[in-house]
Amino acid sequence: MKIVLNGNPREVQATTLADLLTETGFSGRVATAVNEDFVPATLRPSHTLNDGDRVEVLAPMQGG
């Protein structure tokens, strides 16, 4: 399946958001959104991905 992860198109095997994070090596404190909607951590295992989904994985960063 082809998705867009943090702005970059990529081919992935995962079918759920939780599996995607594992497959792409994300861990620790991250927050996720799919197609511009927030997906809480508790819902990642049950959140099924679809071809063309836009996934954002955000982490703590410097800010003012």
Binding site: F26, G28, R29, A31, P40, A59, P60, M61, Q62, G64
Partner: protein, 256 residues
């Protein structure tokens, strides 16, 4: 003492974490500043897990965390970012930024009020980055905000308090609301000025992070904020147009 959603700030300085030359200098600056609050953001996680390293460093600072919605231009974007920040940082506090103008980074106050209402209903404790407009301030309080953060000047401009009259009016209009001058501080004297007006805190980043010696500037800010706070408590004299001799006239020798 005004509290921030029931929390006493350990120190009236909220310090940003962006733009420092290195993580070590950021840590030094925080130590020197005594800041009680660190502002942070959310950005796309890199392959190397930079966000996790940053999180560990911020955790070690042992300060309150205030995540922001910097760079958001729509209500939807800001609300979604706030939800993501709450999960990552484990706090209901959110510095709500809704940018309306590209060059000045002036807040879009119409969207700001709408987003503040949505987030308050969702259980957030909103710190709105706003202008010094009194009516907008009233609307934000009606929307559920218990803190107001008017700008001193545009973000990163270092111009100080562009409109002292408006900030003074805001202090008078909202005597029970914690007020923070957020943005525009360039010098310690600007920070002292805000505190002299009776503001409860100042939020700054660039003035420290981009100074030639960030840790030294952080300490200067700390001292200035304390001086301004004490000056306000001390009930300063009113300025006047004409001189008034301070040395007694009575008893002066007749020597002409």
């Amino acid at each position: 003492m005004r509290t921030f959603y029931g929390t006493d700030l350990p120190n009236p300085l909220m310090l940003g974490t962006a733009q420092y030359p290195s993580p070590a200098i950021l840590e030094q600056a925080f130590r020197e500043s005594g800041a009680g609050v660190a502002t942070v953001s959310l950005r796309r996680e890199g392959a190397g897990g930079a966000g996790q390293t940053f999180w560990q460093m911020i955790s070690d600072l042992n300060v309150l965390i205030l995540p922001n919605t910097a760079g958001c231009h729509t209500v939807k974007e800001a609300v979604t970012t706030a939800h993501m920040a709450r999960e990552v940082f484990g706090t209901d506090w959110i510095k709500l930024e809704l940018i309306g103008h590209t060059d000045s980074l002036q807040p879009d106050v119409f969207q700001l009020v709408e987003a503040a209402r949505i987030l308050t209903d969702d259980g957030f404790q909103v710190f709105p980055y706003t202008t010094d407009d009194l009516i907008v301030g009233e609307r934000l309080l009606e929307a559920g905000c218990e803190v107001l953060m008017p700008w001193g000047a545009p973000i990163g401009s270092g111009r100080g308090l562009n409109n002292e009259y408006a900030l003074r009016a805001m202090r008078a209009e909202f005597p029970d609301t914690p007020l923070v001058v957020d943005a525009g501080i360039g010098l310690p004297s600007h920070a002292a000025h805000a505190m002299e007006l009776g503001y409860d805190a100042v939020l700054l980043n660039t003035a420290v992070a981009r100074a030639g010696e960030p840790a030294t500037m952080a300490r200067a800010m700390k001292l200035a904020i304390e001086a301004g706070q004490l000056a306000h408590q001390a009930d300063p004299i009113e300025a006047r147009d004409m001189a008034e001799a301070s040395t007694p006239v009575i008893g002066k020798a007749f020597l002409t």
